[in-house]
Amino acid sequence: MKGNSDKMDRLRQLKQEIMALEGYLPQKGQQPDSRLQLGPLHAAFSGGAFPLAANHEFISHTPSEAASTQGFLAVLLGMLLQKGGFCLWLGVRPQVFPPALKRFGVAPERVVFVNVPREKDLLWSLEQALSCEALVAVVGEIRELGFSESQRLQLAVERSRVTGFVHRHQPRSLHALACATRWKVAPGPTPMSTCMPGLGFPVWRVGLIKVRNGRPGDWQLQWDGQGFQEVFREEKRQAITQNRRNYA
């Protein structure tokens, strides 16, 4: 029996090592990164850590969804760029209006935008950027991405340990890619509970469709400039307040 448990321990250890190599866990001897404060999202990842040295795929269909995805990406970038450094935003045409990035905690002058008219050149530049260790993160707005191409990007990321975000707007097919996660971010309505008129903080319905070694999920999150808070649907909110009243 003792030999068996030793084996299991050894297996677990090896699994951890492989995951560290693939970028899902911080490497041995390194502190887990404290830059990303994702609040309720952390529970979805194995070990509670957002995989940094990996590619992440985002899907959007409508212009509003694309803007929400970019907003969510901007929040992640803002957390990653806290300690300085540069980030590259590649796309076929200019997509992001730089002054708006400030609201999400990104210094707009730290982002370099690259416009590549041809998708083939875009893939080449994306791979070059992902293999540059001096960058913090790279966002690629690319519509179509094949499986073997995504494998190349994954190899580049494993070597350089840069975080890659691939935003696919209106993709033709949703086949599997060599990415650590697949997200879908859609805008959510301003919660009715705020009795204030006008628009509130940005609210997103964040769907984690696929995650390697983790648990997919759905959240409705609000970004208030400091961190994410979960926004509950009206019936759930009422149920919670009802419960509180019952206990009181």
């Binding site: 212009p63 300690k83 209006f97 730089p98 400030k102 370099v112 530049s125």
Partner: protein
């Protein structure tokens, strides 16, 4: 080191060129004619026509009366000068400094070059025989000064060389016209019986100046080397340049890479000694057939890292067409700037701007520069003008980024929408964009944005942030005011 100059005189430049282009004209008398004051005048005559006494400046009608079988072609003005510039470029293989000397000569600064050919006479012989092999009839001479070389080429014996300091002796028996004087001065000299330079060279300067003006003294001084003479080379000297001549013409990509590597190593060593780096460089190959092929690169910040520069060039090497082979490679730094010394960065591993700049250079070399943008704030009112592209990675914003709410996705051109508005200055109840009806659930605004008063041409814009029932957020604006014509509505962006 004393300067040495070689003057080349093409006796029949344009007609020789025509005979080269059209071999059937060889050995036939022909002239190039142009109109002057309503008459056709001979501008240039071929060797055979010249031998029969048809000189430039004669009327074509006279020439034709004497030789009815004379061929006449129209002259193209400016052609001779262009031809000279091309020939001056061809002469760059003999000396790095060559200049066109219109109307029909070349001037080469050959200081320090002839010993490579084994002496001045061998050098001149090689040059003259190469040109005569092409089909030009040329006369050449070498002297210490531009003026003396010019005079010897035109009025001395073929291939005469004035030794160091020997220009005065060589000039003595020449006619005054050898000094490149104006026709009025020449007439004055002729009138006084000065047929040779030795007759007036020893006269006091004051006397000469009084009778013939400053021009004669200047030309005499230039020919004797007492006065400086300006020299305008056909290709300006580039301060940062390396050359690599090849024993055999290079035709393979590997060979070109080796040549490029050698040139880059040499140039970068020099640049790093001086603390400078390349911003723009051109790599040229002189081909066997006389054409030049070149590739140019630019960098975002000055660099003297040979490995990085090589990678930038390597992307473009397939564009170089060696054809029959490349004889001479040269690497020129067109724009050289001081290198910013890299600072030791202690606390973060990532974010080294030099590495990012190298990445952007690589992308720029492949896709063309102008594709990378880094934005800085600009103090302008309209949202589309509120950012400006920065010039370098190190430039800091000179004003703060505005705190106002702006959409993350700004449409490059506002798109027109149709709206239903209950009251003026109220946000719309719903709007139609590209045939899709959007119901507005919540709204903020209006925020009035005008153009700057010194630019203002149109009505102001009133912006509203609106949210539809699904949570999608839009940035709308109304152009114009109710009560003053019919205002138009536009969609200008999507909030996240």
């Amino acid at each position: 080191m004393p300067k040495r100059f070689l003057s080349l005189w093409f006796c029949h430049l344009t007609t020789d060129r025509m005979a080269i282009r059209q071999p059937e004209l060889r050995g036939k008398p022909f002239v190039l004619a142009g109109n002057e004051r309503g008459r056709a005048i001979v501008q240039a005559s071929s060797r055979e026509a010249f031998a029969r006494g048809i000189r430039p400046g004669r009327a074509v009608a006279d020439a034709r009366a004497i030789f009815p079988d004379l061929l006449i072609f129209p002259d193209r003005p400016g052609w001779g000068k262009r031809l000279l510039c091309r020939l001056a470029e061809w002469c760059l293989r003999y000396t790095p400094v060559s200049a066109a000397d219109p109307p029909s000569g070349l001037m080469l600064d050959i200081s320090g070059c002839p010993h490579l050919w084994g002496g001045e006479s061998a050098y001149m012989k090689d040059l003259v025989s190469a040109l005569e092999g092409k089909g030009y009839r040329v006369r050449a001479a070498i002297a210490d000064t531009i003026g003396a070389a010019w005079a010897l080429a035109r009025y001395g014996e073929q291939g005469s060389i004035a030794g160091v300091g020997g220009q005065q002796e060589a000039l003595l028996p020449m006619p005054p016209a050898a000094l490149r004087l104006e026709s009025r001065t020449l007439e004055g000299l002729e009138k006084l019986g000065f047929r040779q330079i030795q007759q007036f060279i020893d006269l006091p300067a004051a006397t000469l100046r009084r009778r013939f003006g400053e021009g004669l003294l200047l030309r005499l001084g230039q020919a004797l080397g007492r006065e400086e003479e300006a020299f305008q080379p056909v290709q300006p000297r580039v301060p940062y340049e390396e050359q690599l001549p090849c024993l055999e013409p290079i035709r393979t990509a590997k060979g070109i890479e080796i040549a490029l590597q050698k040139l880059l190593d040499a140039l970068c060593q020099r640049l790093s000694r001086e603390g400078k780096g390349l911003r723009k460089a051109v790599f040229k190959g002189l081909r066997v057939d006389g054409k030049t092929v070149e590739i140019t690169i630019g960098t975002g910040r000055a660099s003297h890292n040979p490995a990085h520069l090589f990678r930038l060039f390597a992307l473009k090497i397939p564009l170089l067409e060696p054809a029959l082979g490349i004889e001479l490679f040269s690497l020129e730094g067109l724009l050289v700037e001081k290198v910013q010394l890299p600072q030791e960065q202690l606390w973060h591993r990532s974010g080294d701007p030099a590495a990012v700049a190298e990445l952007l250079d690589r992308i720029g070399a492949k896709l063309g520069s102008g594709r990378m943008h880094r934005f800085l704030p600009q103090e302008r009112h309209w949202p589309e003008h509120s950012v400006r592209p920065s010039r370098s990675l190190d430039e800091k914003p000179d004003t703060d980024w505005p705190d106002s709410v702006r959409p993350l996705h700004l449409l490059p051109v506002p798109e027109p929408i149709t709206v239903m508005v209950p009251l003026p200055d109220y946000p719309p109840v719903h709007f139609k964009h590209k045939g899709k009806l959007v119901r507005v659930a919540r709204a903020d605004g209006p925020e009035r944005i005008e153009q700057e008063w010194w630019l203002q041409t149109g009505p102001p814009r009133d912006y509203y942030c609106v949210e539809d029932t699904e949570g999608g957020r839009y940035w709308l604006f109304r152009l114009g005011l109710y009560g003053k014509g019919e205002p138009q509505w536009f969609l200008h962006g999507y909030f996240s």
